[in-house]
């Protein structure tokens, strides 16, 4: 599988001289390919550090335990890693989106906002849409008591055309239609750019489009990642 990805600090973070709090982790090992995207909570003291920890733990766990994956074990590993570093639901938080593939199947998972789109034979559809909490502009984060309840995960077979797009909330609204849950035409282009180029060129194209296009529509951090064969 090939992976391309790009992130950019939102206008607000740039203005405040803050780093982008969207973190992407990629692992490739023993025919398992893992892509993880975390959007650290800007409202928390250690949002960025939490996103870094969760993305790294998730990527390592999926890559090394693909065939035995359970979300309960993953959540336990995440919580343990965060506790060891002193990150709690009070001082830290992140959303989580991931997809991992071996040569026959995929696993994906999602907590919080952002979107996961999948290309299948029938087209590109939203497979996991943003989930928000009880108040406007509030979403579900790891770590939290409710994260387990709101942790969406799915396993399935890989088809010849299967491809995935992960996007943080800064980019998601342009890529999926909340009415029909269909992916925007842009999704097919993002996948084809990676298909027709090497990963580094795919990264450059994504970065250019995030800077030139997506940033026009949001002041939030933006990250997009694509996986295809």
């Amino acid at each position: 599988m090939k992976i391309s990805y790009a992130t950019a600090a939102g206008r607000q973070h740039q203005k405040d001289n803050m780093p982008c709090q969207d973190i992407i982790a990629v692992r490739k090992k023993n025919d398992v390919c893992t892509l993880v995207l975390c959007d650290g909570a800007g409202s928390k003291e250690y949002g960025l550090e939490c996103a870094q920890t969760v993305s790294s733990v998730t990527a390592d766990y999926l890559t090394n335990n693909f065939s035995t994956f359970t979300k309960d074990v993953l959540i336990e590993k995440i919580n343990t890693a965060l506790e060891e570093k002193g990150y709690t639901d009070k001082n830290s938080g992140t959303t989580l989106l991931f997809v991992a593939c071996d040569d026959k199947s995929f696993i994906l998972g999602h907590v919080g906002d952002g979107v996961i789109l999948m290309r299948a034979a029938s087209g590109i559809k939203t497979i996991s849409k943003p989930e928000n909490g009880h108040l406007e502009n509030i979403t579900y984060f790891l770590p939290s008591e409710e994260a387990k309840e709101h942790f969406f995960s799915q396993k399935g077979p890989l088809g010849a055309k299967t491809a995935f797009i992960l996007a943080s909330d800064g980019a998601s609204s342009l890529l999926y239609d909340p009415q029909t849950l269909k992916g925007a035409p842009a999704c097919a282009k993002l996948i084809s750019w990676l298909k027709e180029n090497d990963e580094e060129e795919g990264n450059e194209l994504l970065q250019e489009n995030i800077e030139q296009i997506f940033r026009e529509y949001t002041s939030d951090d933006i990250s997009i990642a694509v996986m295809t064969n």
Partner: protein
């Protein structure tokens, strides 16, 4: 490598106003199992009508929830694309409160999407097809519904679909209207259709001044 940028037609910026409709259906033992073919025919008629009307198809987002002792999301809010859904009879007790709570949660989630996407929306509609029985106390949730209706944040229309006491359903509305066509889902569909016809006949600007001929559906065309 040549620079390639997405074109404006490649990504979504659809800002048409939306009308969220949530249908909450009692599929507990308090509704006769023999009614379910009619209930599913009603769902089919609603979907096919919306799917066949360009204006409705663009604006209406439909959600279907079934409840017995648990609440089940049959279809989360989405544009109608012709996909048909059905509900099945269960032998469980009717937890009306749980069903309504699930609908409110889904409606709130949907409105949040509209706010985030800067999409205006019509007064959300909650249709409750219920026997009127509930295994749990509905006082609290009924009060929440009445407050939401008084604040013009929600329109609630209950339809009684079993031969039981209507007092429970009366508690859910501020206008006291409870449709009681027990065996005629065609009439319920016609009622919904009347409201939707006004939606398609009106421009967004004219919505506030329109008056529905279908009693109880005036709110359907009142735009926030």
């Amino acid at each position: 490598m040549a620079k390639i940028l997405l074109e404006k037609t490649d990504y979504y910026t659809n800002k048409a106003p939306r009308l969220p409709i949530c249908i909450c259906i009692d599929n507990s033992s308090s509704v006769l199992s023999s009614k379910f073919p009619d209930i599913n025919e009603f769902i089919k008629n609603v979907i096919e009508y919306i799917d066949s009307n360009v204006e409705c198809k663009t604006k209406v987002q439909l959600c279907i929830v079934a409840f017995n002792s648990e609440a089940e999301v049959i279809s989360d809010f989405a544009a109608v694309d012709g996909t048909l859904y059905s509900v099945c009879y269960t032998a469980n007790a009717p937890d009306l409160e749980k069903g309504i709570k699930k609908c409110i949660q889904l409606l709130n989630d949907r409105l949040r999407v509209y706010v985030e996407e800067s999409i205006s929306y019509y007064l959300p509609e909650l249709l409750i097809l219920s026997s009127g029985e509930s295994s749990t106390d509905i006082e609290h949730i009924a009060q929440r519904l009445r407050i939401a209706q008084s604040a013009k944040k929600l329109a609630v229309t209950p339809f009684k679909i079993a031969k039981n006491d209507t007092d429970t359903l009366n508690k859910l509305t501020t206008d006291g209207i409870v449709y009681t066509e027990l065996n005629d889902f065609t009439k319920i569909f016609e009622c919904l259709k009347s409201g939707l016809e006004l939606l398609s006949a009106s421009s967004a600007a004219a919505c506030k001044t329109l008056k529905s001929q279908a009693v109880g559906w005036e709110q359907l065309v009142e735009k926030r």
